[in-house]
Symmetry: C2
Subunit: 161 residues, 2 copies
């Protein structure tokens, strides 16, 4: 099972290396990680997805809190959340296949953001599972390139993280 942690940190050189180091020293593989500016000036927000960490989530949270420049850590296990990921997929699309690919894209509510002679770039957002499904459906056409952001998450309702 995958677990998601939200982390508010001060935006300083080194904080990402410390967080990544904590996971790697213990041999925990990070499934995905998204770090970007937070709403609070001078802060960043990280969303970390870790696999198979059921028994040690409490430990991970405690150890993250001990790191310099880490402000807040939330383990979202069991929370009711909105989770989203964005992906860009470049699909090999000769003219005769283009319409078929664009029709399929509609099923996933994906949008074509670039079309060239031999390729289409699709933008899609949704749960990681939905993006996995779209990847499988597009695979037979030839995926020249795929880039995913990793999942981000907010708790439903009014609570602020």
């Amino acid at each position: 099972m995958k677990h998601t942690i939200s982390c508010r940190v001060r935006n300083r050189p080194g904080v990402l290396a410390r967080v990544a180091g904590l996971f790697s020293r213990r041999g925990y593989n990070i499934d995905s990680l998204a770090v970007s500016a937070a709403h609070q000036p001078g802060e960043s927000r990280m969303t970390i997805v870790v696999e198979d960490a059921e028994n040690i989530m409490g430990q991970i949270v405690q150890q993250l809190y001990k790191l310099i420049d880490v402000i807040q850590v939330i383990d979202h296990t069991g929370d009711t959340v909105v989770e989203r990921e964005l992906a860009l997929l470049k699909i090999q699309a000769p003219a005769e296949k283009r319409m078929e690919i664009l029709q399929l894209a509609l099923v996933f509510r994906a949008r074509a953001v670039d079309i060239s002679e031999g390729a289409v770039v699709l933008e899609v957002t949704g749960s990681p599972d939905k993006i996995d499904a779209m990847e499988r459906v597009m695979d037979p056409y030839g995926i020249a390139e795929m880039v995913r952001t990793g999942k981000v998450i907010v708790a439903r309702g009014t609570r602020a993280t």
Copy 2:
């Protein structure tokens, strides 16, 4: 000026810590970072945005290549690219403000993905600049929470990264 690097790496514990360590040891602050599964099995793809690194981009690329489990590094400076970021914003929205907020969201092609008694969660995708603009417009209503994925990028046309 901001620079964007794409990095294909083997999905092993430690590779993220090595990449992050490379940046922090040199005092370069990472503006945003997105890491998730690549299309190639066993690989991840990182998109790293670095600020003010004009003179040392060549150096950074070289040093990334020397790291264990790094397969490919591309500096996108000067490339024609599609760039996208996703954000979830939780806006404080008492009933009497809700419609106003949802109307504004439309301008940014944002979608409401959760509505509760006192808050609305909006999903938006676009360039980082567009998300900055939406953050500024929503700020007076009260942003309870914002989480951004960091930018991802693919080159336009048929070239595969």
